[in-house]
Symmetry: C2
Subunit: 306 residues, 2 copies
């Protein structure tokens, strides 16, 4: 990729939330030639991007003024409500016809209610949560699951292409969040699957690496077996994806399920087991630390140095 030469883009963009994910995503927009105004609660996190050509804003409202697309990527439902609907929120700055693209992972229900509030002002919304981690954010290879009207989705495609690789329109507002929660349920249970296999092998006295290798190529294979299995047995609990964020997403899924009267027995179980990991002060560790809860339950150490 050539640096120094930027194609100018016709859409201008506001970008709210420069965390581990947001910062590299905003950078990819700058590198793709978009004009980007940024805002972050901790203002100092804006400095680096300002040096790279972004404009700093004093509020979400200011970052939204005159923009075609306003992106938010913050932690939880109340954070999105605050930056979109709160005092000095996006809704007070964005022009009619603008698109608010929320790339946080939040409640599908809250998403639909925010979309309605924006619609009253003539502002469109897409929910567009991502998966792929900070690595995907840096490399611009995120998977983006998008809910909202098809025509609005098409208008936002140029910004999605600058940040992601697999971009799927999955349904109306809220559907992006629902699919993201499906992703989080499935991923968390796949980690639990590996964790139980690992402690079973360890307590049986079997070589853990050979076990992971043997099961990683067939019908039991998963991204988690292949990527987190080896870290688990080495005792490498660096995140990856933090336990406390996995817990937030499982909470969102279980709350949505509860509201629909849908029992999710395994998602509920893994949420409890991750609570045991948090109880040991490991909420900032990677999700592969789930194995430690199973190790304590079974009084077994599942480690292997090779």
């Amino acid at each position: 990729m050539e640096t120094g030469v930027r194609l100018s883009q016709s859409l201008n963009v506001g970008f709210i939330g420069l965390g581990i994910m947001g910062k590299p995503m905003a950078r990819n927009l700058l590198n793709a030639g978009f004009e980007v105004a940024v805002w972050n609660r901790t203002a100092s996190r804006m400095d680096e991007l300002v040096n790279e050509g972004a404009r700093a804003s004093g509020s979400p409202q200011e970052a939204a003024q005159g923009k075609d697309i306003v992106i938010t990527i913050v932690t939880d439902s109340p954070d999105v409500e605050a930056v979109v609907l709160g005092e000095q929120g996006i809704i007070h700055g964005a022009k009619p016809g603008a698109v608010v693209v929320d790339m946080s992972t939040i409640s599908p229900e809250v998403t639909r209610s925010i979309a309605e509030r924006l619609k009253e002002r003539g502002i469109d919304m897409l929910d567009a949560p991502v998966s792929g981690g900070d690595k995907g954010a840096i490399e611009g290879t995120l998977s983006i699951m998008v809910g909202g009207e098809e025509s609005v989705f098409e208008r936002a495609m140029p910004v999605f292409r600058a940040m992601g690789k697999t971009i799927t329109h999955v349904g109306p507002n809220g559907a992006g969040q629902t699919v993201k929660l499906c992703n989080q349920i499935t991923g968390a249970l796949n980690i639990l699957a590996v964790s139980e296999a690992v402690v079973f092998a360890a307590k049986s006295g079997v070589d853990l690496s050979k076990m992971l290798q043997a099961i990683g190529g067939g019908a039991a294979s998963s991204w988690m077996v292949q990527n987190l299995g080896p870290r688990m047995v080495k005792g490498d609990f660096e995140p990856g994806f933090m336990v406390k964020l996995q817990q937030k997403d499982l909470r969102l899924a279980l709350e949505a399920a509860r509201d629909m009267h849908l029992p999710l027995p395994a998602a509920s179980l893994v949420h409890q087991l991750f609570a045991a990991v948090e109880a040991e002060g490991m909420g900032d560790k990677g999700t592969q630390a789930l194995v430690t809860a199973l190790e304590r339950l079974g009084n077994v150490e599942a480690r292997q140095e090779n």
Copy 2:
């Protein structure tokens, strides 16, 4: 592959158990040039292979006489005990220095006790359970997880190569069965992961195929998402791998875990949920039918015709 020309092999083989897996495996041995004597409880299942060059035997004992390798692939621990140690069992026919290769999925503990009994007569044993289903058995691409002495493993390699592709020596006697049970725990929980995602999406009103497509490429991906997910949402419950056999394997895993005082909360949960599938008379269906238990719990239909 040329037909009509068979390389002759120096090892001669006894083969006990011509079920869905055993029959094509024995055929691959014949096609690779091994002399094969077969035995099956239902004698008529031997006819086809006899026409292809196998020799029919009147008992496991007779099938084992004078053989270098005697393979067993039957259903459960008591079946292996019967054909190896019972009246007219292999132990009464096999010569000292022969190798009994049990390719069934059975208890690691029972495996170790059979191996000891054989060892007293100078007969070696390998536990060598397989994964890859009838497709892998037919195509000779099975994964084979082998427990036993390294030198014995080497002696049996020519027969493994005729039946499988990924052949891994994982440890001493019983280790092959342990790793196979790790595979079954992980696979079953990966199916449960997909099932909960599918009912969550269905109850939320989201397109199921788009959801599976969106989650199938990232950190939540698994063989089960990609292969059984689409069958689940089509309501295609043909086996694949039957619920009742999955239940047998989970029972073996949970019994072994119980004997070791190892809690496996998720494996236990999925065993209960598969019991609900059996309660509906679907034990002969494929494991993807697990979704029906979650559907009943949540009073939701997770089907989509496209």
